[in-house]
């Protein structure tokens, strides 16, 4: 799954291994419940989607389908490596590859039924989750927002459409297009380098 572009250093691997052991209570594999115990995730509106992403086969196997119940350290590391910062001296092609793989990860998080497109329902679900902490006001406007966003994607990607045409959903290529302005390869990273094993949340 493009692991060679998202490599992690040895020190980071050992730190992550410690964390893995801590989360899985010293077992070999990690389950969803283990992740659900993390306190910091409680207040995160997209908590369930983040946890799902760890167990989504598409993220750690080349043609993976569906989700698994438990993951080993290798899969944990693979998912984490999506958040590595790109090395400085790389060619444009490599940069594009890294960008695509990160965006693919994001895309998989939205495309829950794995049909290759983000349909309007799925997109609405995304927006609703984002606004899930805002009560009733959020739910009502979420639909409107998702609709407007979808309209925008359709008009950017496909252009003029006849009244009877139907826009299936956001494909990966369209997804790339709309997020052109956002520098994913540099924004989507965690500062692994400063990770201190002692500063661990319980």
């Amino acid at each position: 799954m493009g692991l060679e572009q998202n490599y992690v250093s040895l020190e980071q691997i050992s730190l992550l291994h410690n964390r893995f052991k801590q989360l899985s209570q010293n077992e070999e594999t990690l389950r969803r419940d283990d992740l659900k115990t993390i306190q910091d995730l409680e207040s995160n509106p997209i908590r369930s989607q983040i946890i799902e992403a760890f167990f989504d086969s598409r993220n750690f196997q080349k043609d993976g389908v569906g989700s698994v119940e438990e993951i080993g350290f290798e899969e944990f590391l693979t998912v984490m490596s999506y958040f590595r910062a790109p090395p400085q001296h790389i060619t444009e092609e490599q940069r594009e590859k890294i960008r695509r793989s990160k965006l693919r990860f994001l895309f998989n998080m939205h495309d829950t039924d794995n049909d290759g497109t983000i349909t309007l329902e799925e997109y609405r679900h995304v927006v609703e989750e984002l606004l899930s902490r805002s009560g009733a006001l959020g739910r009502e406007t979420a639909k409107g927002i998702a609709d407007a966003a979808m309209l925008e994607v359709a008009s950017i990607s496909v252009g003029p459409m006849a009244p009877d045409d139907f826009y299936e959903g956001i494909t990966f290529e369209h997804f790339l297009k709309i997020l052109n302005g956002v520098e994913i390869e540099t924004n989507m990273h965690i500062r692994f380098l400063n990770m201190d094993a002692t500063v661990l949340c319980k």
Partner: protein, 772 residues
């Protein structure tokens, strides 16, 4: 030609006014006292009765405001003039042109044997500088600023210190080596001079960078540096000024200097933040007095600046902090008009200030006492440039170790080249006491030379250089709703991953701050409902507002604004979409015509019932007879609907469970409940042209037709839309309880009161979609 006219006006202005804002009062009033036909009432001759003075001349008591107004007028006319000469303004930046104008005016005044005014420091710091800084602080892009804060602070603090000591120290060395004239310039004076001249000037940077539209990263780096180095400059300035009288500096003084720096900068920020919060809190209560809302923002900010200056804290940082803190809360509270007012007043004031500053710089050059010393001036210039380049290169080397997005050498060049000096340095030198600094005039000359060099040479050449080096320019893309959604998603994702990693990083703290803000601060400072509004929704509303305004400005629905994707409409993306409660028509003319045609054909069935109906506007006339009847009936229907909806929630709340298409459609048709109720009550006379899909036979906006006198068959559909559409009702009857049917009966009966061919009219509905 306009040019000649301007020169004429210029001459008139200079001649008529006696622009004497400086300390030199001069002989102005005498020269401006022409003999009127009737002298004042002073000389009263006892014998003859004087004639009543019909017209008299009393210039003195309006002198000061008159002069100020003349100068402001001059500045504004100059600005106007430049933009009439596009060729000139594309080559030469405005600041250069203004300085030249100032030189001309100064020269003219000297010719007329007037004493030209000098840019007095008090006026500069109290009146001319604050609007520019407030404008910058209020519209500061917070996100980029905080992302690059480390880099900016490095450049501002360490860079300025390096510049100051490098220039000051080496100048001292030069003076020592030079010879007799300069040997008595002591180290402290040189260091003071170095500290004054090393600060990058925000006014000059703004003036030049605004025009070249460089990419946001570089802009915020140079601009942020110019703002934040004020604290360093203030501290160094006072430090050296204090000790130049004493003569020596001990280690203790250095330590105190560092402490002073922290106090000055943090103190300034705290003062600004306090005033900002006060302003935000005040704006919470201004819902009844919208007119003075902008005033609060301005006055509180200015007070913040003045309060900071009282304690010799950094006024600039106070102003920036106040503007940045005030903005998110105040904008949520104040009306749209006040927001526009604030924006335009700030831009106007800062523009006028900037123009005046540059003109005065030119005038002061002509006026000020000069002492030209070749070696000193040239040495200063060279040392400034060298220090800047070395500083930027060295600091970038260190900074790049910590940055993800590294600064390339092109970036470094622009940062170094963009280090312009300006009026702040000039004013600070002007403030120096000649007793303590015998060489003040020489300093003044040197500073003016450096300022001229940076503004003219660097200012003029930076634009072609930017093009030559192909530096990334600012992208004029509007932030789209998709980007907003995904950026927020990414923020939450990264925070979550940090939580899983067990690493309390950057995102974690940012998230904590946001939550604290939402939970406590916003509740205090934002009035009413908007305190709970999440950012995404606020952004969405803002975008809608913008689109609506654009729509209105573009003259109605016939010409669609570019923001609205006119090529794709709702029906393209969701065939089963429930209608939106949007009032924005997103139809082309052809579409509208189609809808009207369909409406017309359906309405023909109840034609005899309609007394008067204007087909072309489709706007209901609320003054028709029988209006009250309809209202009462509608009320009753609404109550029924509410009851029914409570009974079968699953039908009214759209659950994403996959069902048979009919059920799904039917369920979706019930969706407009929230919308339906609203539009019933609100939108009586208007037509909400909504884009229902072809397959959904629901009468999306037929609800508005209900407002019309007499109703159409679709109306019953609409009302039933809350429970079920009549056609689909038949299919759904299998699922629904008998209870429901009974409840629907009275409703249908009501329907029939209103429209005769109630159910009959829907026969064709199932076969042909409502909208083709």
């Amino acid at each position: 030609m306009e040019l000649k006219m301007f020169i004429l006006v210029l001459g008139l202005l200079v001649g008529s006014g006696s622009p004497d804002i400086g300390p030199n009062q001069g002989k102005c009033s005498d020269s401006l006292d022409p003999g009127p036909q009737n002298q004042g009432n002073h000389t009263l001759t006892p014998h003859s009765k004087k004639n009543f003075p019909v017209l008299s001349f009393g210039y003195d008591h309006v002198r000061l405001p008159f002069e100020i107004s003349l100068w402001v007028l001059l500045a504004s006319l100059m600005k106007l003039g430049f933009h009439m000469m596009p060729r000139l303004s594309s080559i030469v930046p405005e600041s250069c042109l203004l300085i030249v104008v100032g030189l001309l005016v100064g020269g003219l005044m000297k010719l007329v044997a007037e004493v030209p005014p000098v840019l007095e420091s008090k006026i500069f710091f109290l009146y001319l500088l604050p609007p520019i800084i407030l404008d910058a602080g209020y519209f500061m892009p917070i996100r980029q600023f905080t992302e690059n804060l480390g880099t900016i602070l490095m450049f501002a603090v360490v860079g300025t210190l390096w510049n100051a000591f490098f220039v000051g120290g080496l100048l001292y060395g030069v003076c020592q080596f030079e010879g007799h004239r300069l040997v008595n310039v002591d180290l402290l004076s040189c260091l003071l001079f170095g500290s004054i001249i090393s600060a990058v000037d925000p006014v000059a940077v703004l003036a030049v960078f605004e025009e070249i539209h460089i990419n946001e990263l570089l802009h915020i780096l140079v601009f942020g540096e110019s703002l934040l180095n004020d604290a360093v400059t203030v501290v160094l300035y006072h430090l050296f000024e204090e000790f130049s009288s004493v003569g020596t500096i001990t280690v203790m003084d250095v330590f105190l200097g560092v402490v002073c720096f922290l106090v000055v900068s943090l103190g300034g920020i705290v003062v600004g933040a306090i005033y900002g919060l006060l302003a935000a809190f005040t704006s919470r209560f201004t819902s009844h007095t919208r007119v003075i809302e902008p005033l609060f923002v301005f006055v509180y900010s200015y007070m913040a600046y003045l309060s900071a200056e009282v304690f010799h804290l950094s006024g600039i940082m106070a102003l920036i902090a106040c503007g940045a803190v005030t903005r998110p809360y105040v904008e949520a509270n104040i009306s749209h008009k006040s927001h526009t007012t604030i924006k335009y007043f700030l831009k106007m004031w800062s523009s006028v200030s900037e123009t005046l500053i540059f003109i005065f710089l030119g005038v002061s050059t002509v006026a000020g006492p000069h002492e030209w010393n070749w070696i000193f001036v040239v040495a200063t210039l060279i040392l400034c440039l060298v220090a800047r380049v070395l500083g930027v290169v060295g600091l970038t080397f260190v900074i790049n170790k910590f940055r993800i997005v590294k600064l390339t050498s092109k970036d470094q060049f622009i940062i170094a080249y963009g280090g312009l000096r300006g009026a702040i340095a000039f004013s600070l030198v002007y403030l120096l006491n000649t007793d303590h600094f015998p060489k003040r005039n020489m300093f003044l000359t040197a500073i003016i030379t450096v300022i001229f060099f940076t503004v003219f040479v660097q200012g003029m050449t930076i634009r072609p250089l930017v093009d030559l080096l192909a530096v990334k320019k600012k992208q004029e893309t509007k932030r789209s709703i998709n980007e907003e959604i995904h950026t927020q998603f990414l923020d939450h994702l990264l925070t979550g991953i940090e939580g899983i990693c067990g690493h309390y990083g950057h995102h974690h703290w940012k998230d904590k701050l946001n939550r604290f803000n939402k939970k406590y601060v916003k509740k205090c400072l934002i009035a009413g409902e908007r305190s709970k509004e999440p950012q995404l929704i606020a952004f969405y509303h803002k975008m809608e507002m913008k689109q609506a305004i654009e729509l209105v400005e573009s003259g109605g629905g016939s010409k669609l604004p570019s923001a609205v994707p006119s090529t794709v409409s709702m029906q393209n993306i969701q065939p089963k979409k429930p209608p939106q409660d949007r009032a924005l028509p997103q139809l082309s003319k052809a579409r509208e015509e189609e809808i009207r045609k369909i409406l017309r054909t359906n309405l023909q069935k109840t034609r005899q019932r309609l007394r008067s109906y204007n087909r072309h506007t489709l706007i209901a006339d609320p003054y028709e007879d029988g209006w009250n009847e309809i209202l009462i009936k509608r009320k009753r229907m609404m109550e029924l609907e509410k009851k029914i909806s409570q009974m079968n929630n699953y039908l009214t709340v759209p659950a994403p469970a996959p069902d048979s298409p009919t059920i799904a459609r039917a369920r979706l048709a019930s969706d407009p409940q929230a919308w339906g109720l609203k539009s019933l009550t609100e939108s009586i006379p208007t037509i909400k042209v909504d884009l229902a899909s072809p397959q959904s036979p629901e009468s999306f906006n037929m609800v508005d037709e209900i407002g019309k006198k007499g109703s159409q068959p679709k109306v019953s559909e609409e009302e039933d839309g809350l429970t079920m559409k009549v056609p689909s009702t038949t299919k759904l009857r299998k699922d629904k309880t008998a209870n429901e049917d009974d409840d629907k009966e009275p409703q249908q009966r009501l329907m029939r009161c209103l429209s005769d061919p109630g159910p009959a009219g829907e026969e064709d509905d199932e076969d042909e979609p409502f909208l083709h």
